[in-house]
């Protein structure tokens, strides 16, 4: 059906989302590491609007924005589904993904904003644990969904201690299970580098990616 390519950067959680989604579906792809200090002509040509990674190519056609890419991947390769088939369940998952994306970046704040950001994150995690996870193993039920991937990369960066300390037992168990999934386990990101990257991004602009 066409060659699959991903242009990204090893420190970006948004790139990781795509890598994990492709690996979970067993899709072979070429990965091209982008130097963000020296953006390539390829990136500027294929993402002229936002000039950001990741950029995904299928049969030479580019797609930008990580959630748009993941929805596309889900439609082209529906096996090992990352979204429920029921439209209502799907709407609920998309709601939680937006919630996680909107609330998530506050975790990367440093300095004065940090305490308030931590409080907000804690509140967010409590809501997610109660309303989105409940007693399920993963947010997708028995299997990983897009929401597990988004949260897996968003909120456990340094968050395990947070989860334990604040008695978010179900999230703690979820995180342990998530990190045991073979595709995830064999390709865990460098958390410190990722956190530093996100903080730099946040300082540079209020946009999320």
């Amino acid at each position: 059906m066409g060659e699959v390519k991903l242009v990204g950067t090893w420190v970006s959680p948004y790139t990781y989302r795509i890598k994990w989604a492709l690996k979970l579906k067993g899709i072979a792809f070429d990965y091209i590491e982008e130097d963000l200090c020296n953006k390539s002509a390829l990136l500027l040509q294929y993402n002229p609007i936002h000039k950001k990674v990741p950029v995904f190519f299928h049969g030479g056609k580019p797609i930008c924005e990580s959630m748009v890419i993941i929805e596309y991947i889900e439609e082209i390769w529906p096996h090992n589904p990352l979204l429920p088939t029921d439209p209502y369940e799907r709407a609920m998952l998309r709601f939680w993904i937006k919630y996680a994306e909107d609330k998530g970046p506050s975790m990367w704040m440093v300095g004065e904003g940090q305490h308030k950001a931590e409080q907000n994150s804690l509140e967010m995690l409590k809501i997610i644990e109660e309303k989105a996870l409940g007693d399920k193993k993963f947010f997708g039920g028995d299997n990983i969904s897009m929401l597990d991937i988004v949260l897996g990369l968003g909120h456990w960066l340094g968050g395990e201690k947070l989860l334990e300390a604040h008695k978010l037992h179900r999230l703690h168990v979820w995180l342990k299970n998530f990190k045991q999934v073979p595709v995830i386990k064999e390709d865990l990101p460098d958390l410190d580098a990722m956190l530093a990257y996100l903080r730099r991004q946040r300082e540079m602009s209020p946009a999320t990616h």
């Binding site: 609007i49 929805e71 209502y88 799907r90 709407a91 937006k98």
Partner: protein
Amino acid sequence: MADEDVVLLDFWPSPFGMRVRIALAEKEIKYEYKEEDLRNKSDLLLKMNPIHKKIPVLIHNGKPVCESLVHVQYIDEIWPHKSPLLPTDPYQRAIARFWGDFVDKKIYGLESRKVWSTKGEEQEAAKKEFIECLKLLEGELGNKAYFGGENLGYVDVVLVPFYSWFYAYEKCGNFSIETECPKLIAWAKRCMEKDSVSKSLPDQDKIYDYVLHLKKVFGIE
């Protein structure tokens, strides 16, 4: 589908609410519209959207759906046979979703609000960015009648509610969007020829009055 129970909790000037109204009208779905007083939110709203306590909320057979981009996709998936909003081709769907995301980030985002809520240099910078984003959208529209091609599509539904706010932006920012982006205004007027759009958007003068009211409430000159 005669036994479908569809309720929309909404607030008349909300462009997010307008998106849902248009989508439901395009699909010819009968629904009950409930106007919310945002200073005195109903128990139903608080129960149906406890996380954000915001409108619009679409309640379908008793189950709530929140977030307007989620609404438009949900409505399209539940009632796929009439007026499909997203294309069938996955790549075209990705393009539509990309532009829907762009509209949310750049047109409805916090920066664009500065066009009416600030003055001086800050306002000029906001106006410039706002026009640049509208021009990018004009580029995407190209020579098509609608973003969806020959008929209204996802991006049209996501963007056109904002047209009802343009007059307020122009008055507050002292500029003409039509001069800068004539193709986009032509597109908006074309959309307004459709009942599903014209009956879902409030009068531009009413929105301007609402913006003046907001400025007073927030102490903005």
